[in-house]
């Protein structure tokens, strides 16, 4: 628990640099969840079985719900959903490149590997936010954590099942080769990382979380016969892709995705995104 004196106040009580750091942190969280969920929904009506279709749709909706919770905290600073999603310059999004990569047709191995790499990272990230010095963030961690165990279980089960079959194992390895470097982007700092750490907005550094992530994912993948990129642990920078997303530098696939996501909004000439669900603060009350 952060000491009482170190705790920050509400949205209106933050100094400029504090607010900038809180915003930077929230954009990373919200954008990761939104964009990954958006990709997951591509599997709806396309998954290998009706059961897996339902399961991944569930996960997509959980992540959309989490995105909603984090964007809602950005609304505290006066932004509305149009500012945050529909009218925002795609280059201002701060999600990791892992979230935005498209799925190749039928590449269920990608869905499973991506979900595993992300969900283990998310678990670590949430643990490090549980005692965040900004109460608005810390208060929302518990609700999200309660849904995340199912996501990891789902990804691990699928990895184990596919790894049992030789041809499927090869597809998993191809997905690991392609995705592992982009997963490193999850741990890339933003401009405000130093302030985030100094203020205790997160109780672990990105570097420390990355080590913990390696400790979990590398042995598990190896136990299934999957090999992470050579030397990734000793020298992650050599494996990291050129485009990481965190700094606003995205692949062309992101522009295309953002264009599609905002098509109706633009076609209808909307100026606001309508809320139809209760505000998270009221829903919790």
């Amino acid at each position: 628990m952060a000491a009482e004196s170190d705790r920050l106040g509400g949205p209106a009580e933050l100094a400029d640099d504090e607010r900038a750091a809180v915003e930077a942190l929230l954009y990373r969280l919200a954008d990761d969840e939104l964009v990954l969920a958006e990709r997951y929904t591509e599997w709806q009506v396309r998954a290998p079985t009706l059961e897996s279709d339902l399961a991944l749709a569930n996960i997509a909706q959980d992540e959309l719900g989490h995105a909603r919770l984090w964007y809602d905290l950005l609304r505290d600073f006066g932004y509305d959903e149009a500012d945050l999603i529909f009218e925002r310059d795609p280059a201002d999004f701060r999600h990791a490149s892992l979230a935005e990569l498209p799925f190749e047709d039928g590449d269920w191995a990608d869905a499973v590997v991506r979900s595993y790499l992300y969900d283990v990272a998310e678990q670590l990230r949430l643990e490090a936010l549980a005692d965040a010095s900004y109460p608005r963030i810390a208060d929302r961690v518990g609700k999200i954590q309660s849904e995340e165990a199912y996501h990891r279980e789902h990804a691990q089960n699928w990895l184990e099942r596919l790894a049992d079959d030789e041809a499927s194992l090869k597809r998993l390895q191809a997905a690991v080769d392609r995705l592992f470097p982009h997963a490193l982007a999850l741990w890339e700092p933003s401009d405000h990382e130093e302030t985030i750490e100094d203020l205790g907005l997160r109780t672990e550094s990105l570097a420390a979380m990355r080590e913990q992530w390696f400790d979990t994912v590398i042995p598990f993948l190896r136990s299934l016969g999957l090999e992470p990129p050579e030397g990734v642990r000793e020298n992650p920078e050599a494996v990291r892709p050129a485009t990481i997303g965190r700094d606003g530098d995205h692949t062309d696939d992101w522009d295309a995705l953002h264009e599609e996501m905002t098509r109706t909004y633009r076609e209808l000439g909307r100026e606001e995104a309508h809320k139809i669900m209760p505000d998270p603060d009221e829903a919790d009350a």
């Binding site: 709806q44 009506v45 998954a47 279709d53 047709d105 079959d165 597809r171 139809i276 669900m277």
Partner: protein, 313 residues
């Protein structure tokens, strides 16, 4: 049990897998439930692009949940069909992907814009609700049981669809015009949802005699028009001049059949319209692309997904 006994006993939820039923009944029920299950899946192909294209985060969530529900309904219905012992779920899914499986006429027309969303999510789902509500009293108990859950969830879908329509109908002039255009395009298809008038229907007699169907197409169409014409008008929609629909003033309507394109309807019924090829092509391509997963899983043979955690409802 012979067919005569089935006809004598026919009533709501009368028959279950415990009964020894004649093949004629089991085939008729399979045909009906398979059609219904296929429609759940194929409807989801129309709607899935609008998960991504929804104009707000809340709508996106609601739409993803709706598409998921439709797949869940398909799952329930295939199970109800499978329990008749005529076809396995795998056979029915194969038939759907290879173009033999039949499904609702409205799902043979791909959707282009958000203004079309309420045409499915309000009118077609509303029409389906009417039919499904009567199927809670169908004679095949597993089918009726599936309808309990399906109708419960469809109620939310139709409310959501109505809300999407309300938003468009009370939005800008442009939104209102787009909604009216979509309505004019879809209205004849929606009327055809209930099929031709009874004298042209081929399967009704037996299905009605054995209690699988409890209302005729005409009765369902009348009930739909009674409820939905006023709703369309409430949202400022103008009912197209054609097809001509005569209000008999006694709660029934007469649709001038010649105003509807039955050639197109029957081409669709054979899965042979351009939209049929497009939609079935999507199904077959996407299923082909994940065939490697299914063939890699031994348990798939049994249609069971034993190790993956079950999605919460």
């Amino acid at each position: 049990m012979d067919v005569e006994t089935v006809k004598e006993r026919a009533g709501p939820r009368e028959f279950s897998p415990k009964d020894d039923l004649p093949e004629e009944y089991r085939k008729a029920a399979t045909r009906m439930i398979q059609f219904h299950a296929n429609s759940e899946i194929m409807g989801a192909y129309l709607e899935r692009p609008f998960i991504r294209q929804a104009p707000s985060l809340d709508r996106k969530l609601a739409f993803s949940a709706k598409v998921q529900d439709e797949i869940g309904h398909g799952q329930l219905l295939y199970r109800a069909a499978e329990s008749l012992g005529i076809k396995s779920r795998e056979e029915m899914l194969d038939e759907l992907a290879n173009g033999e499986g039949k499904f609702l006429n409205c799902f043979h027309y791909p959707m282009e814009s958000w203004a079309e969303v309420p045409m499915i999510a309000f009118f077609v789902d509303g029409a389906a609700m009417r039919r499904q509500a009567t199927l809670k009293r169908t004679s095949w108990e597993p089918y009726a049981h599936a309808m309990d859950k399906v109708c419960f969830e469809e109620g939310f879908h139709v409310k959501h669809g109505e809300d999407v329509m309300r938003e468009l109908a009370t939005g800008s002039k442009k939104e209102q015009q787009m909604l009216q255009d979509a309505f004019e395009q879809w209205w004849p298809r929606i009327i055809q949802f209930f099929g031709p008038t009874d004298d042209q229907s081929t399967h009704h007699d037996f299905s009605a005699d054995v209690g699988l169907k409890t209302m005729t197409n005409d009765e369902l169409r009348n009930a739909f028009l009674n409820a939905y014409v006023p709703k369309a008008q409430k949202y400022g929609l103008e009912i197209p001049d054609e097809p001509r629909i005569r209000d008999n003033g006694d709660g029934t309507y007469e649709v001038v059949e010649d105003d509807l394109d039955w050639e197109e309807f029957f081409t669709i019924a054979k899965n042979d319209a351009p939209g049929s090829h497009e939609q079935i092509g999507k199904r077959s391509r996407t299923q082909e692309a994940v065939e490697w997963v299914r063939s890699g899983l031994e348990s798939w043979e049994h249609g069971e997904d034993t190790t993956a955690p079950q999605a919460a409802d």
